[in-house]
């Protein structure tokens, strides 16, 4: 709905929950429990700095370096921390590898646990009741809705994240990406392919 500034002699009133959040911020700041500058830093981090590009870099490295991949599958938390990907909600990360026999898919049936240092903040659908309920019950159907159809011989395994363990899917390297360098390979790795609801892009 378009609005004209002249219809608003006063500042635009934010919705009720926004006012409640402002109330909490005021109370907590006055008590010295939070620092408004720290809040800005947290928002900037997740809006601009941390996102699926981190996970894509890990995946591309695993594709091109077998020793790295082996270490990643054995102890992902340590290996990705060595790359500088650690911190909030990354205390225990497990990487699960897609193979022709098994496709992996991640959900959090509890709420929305997700490997923040590698993927950032989860998309809306990951947090929806529909995905959280159906990913476990009918994963193939959910995959089909994401446009992913797997060969019948490929089993689907669904991993349920918790506050303690967060999963990252290591997708299979797409056909035709052999000659690409790590950076170009990383560009093929989509967010959804690391959640298991998508596949990496195929080089054109």
């Amino acid at each position: 709905m378009p609005h004209d500034d002249h219809d608003h002699p006063h500042a635009l009133l934010p919705p009720d929950p926004a006012l409640r959040v402002k109330a909490l911020e005021t109370i907590l700041t006055r008590k010295g429990l939070i620092d408004p500058a720290a809040l800005d830093e947290i928002i900037d981090t997740y809006q601009n700095k941390i996102g699926p590009q981190n996970g894509a870099c890990v995946v591309a490295k695993a594709w091109s370096d077998p020793a790295f991949k082996q270490a990643l599958l054995a102890d992902a938390t340590q290996v990705v921390a060595d790359l500088g990907f650690y911190g909030r909600q990354g205390e225990h990360i497990v990487v699960v590898e897609n193979t022709p026999d098994q496709h992996n898919m991640v959900v959090c049936t509890l709420c929305s646990c997700y490997p923040w240092p590698l993927l950032g903040i989860p998309p809306g659908w990951y947090k929806s009741d529909a995905y959280r309920a159906r990913a476990v019950r009918e994963p193939r159907k959910v995959l089909a809705e994401f446009g992913v159809t797997l060969p019948p011989e490929t089993a689907v395994r669904v991993w349920d994240s918790t506050a303690e363990i967060r999963y990252l899917v290591l997708p299979m390297r797409p056909e035709g990406s052999d000659g690409l360098d790590e950076g170009d390979q990383a560009a093929l790795v989509t967010r959804d392919s690391m959640i298991g609801t998508g596949l990496p892009m195929v080089p054109s």
Binding site: H10, A11, L19, T26, I34, Y46, G124, W125
Partner: protein, 112 residues
Amino acid sequence: MNTRVTHSAPEPVFAEPWHAQVFAVTVALNEAGRFEWSDWAERFSQTLKMHGLDRELDGGDDYFHAWLETLEQLLIEQGAAEFDDIQQLRNAWEKAYLTTPHGQPVHLAASE
């Protein structure tokens, strides 16, 4: 559910500024040691379950409503915030918005 449409559209990390703010407040309090993240996840999960009883949550605005409610309850239980203070300051902010000329920065009145 309609993952078909929603998963392909480019989405901002936070759809609304207040989603980002309530997220950041929670993360900051967790880092300051006010609660463990596993406790948070447990409580948040309970709220989501309750909110999801009579309707299907889409993971957008309704998700952050549940988030905010969980945080308010937690802070009230911990004694970090009083219910009445939250109400009073919420109303004070509303008044501040309604009495600040459009385009000016909005501040609480000094007495609030």
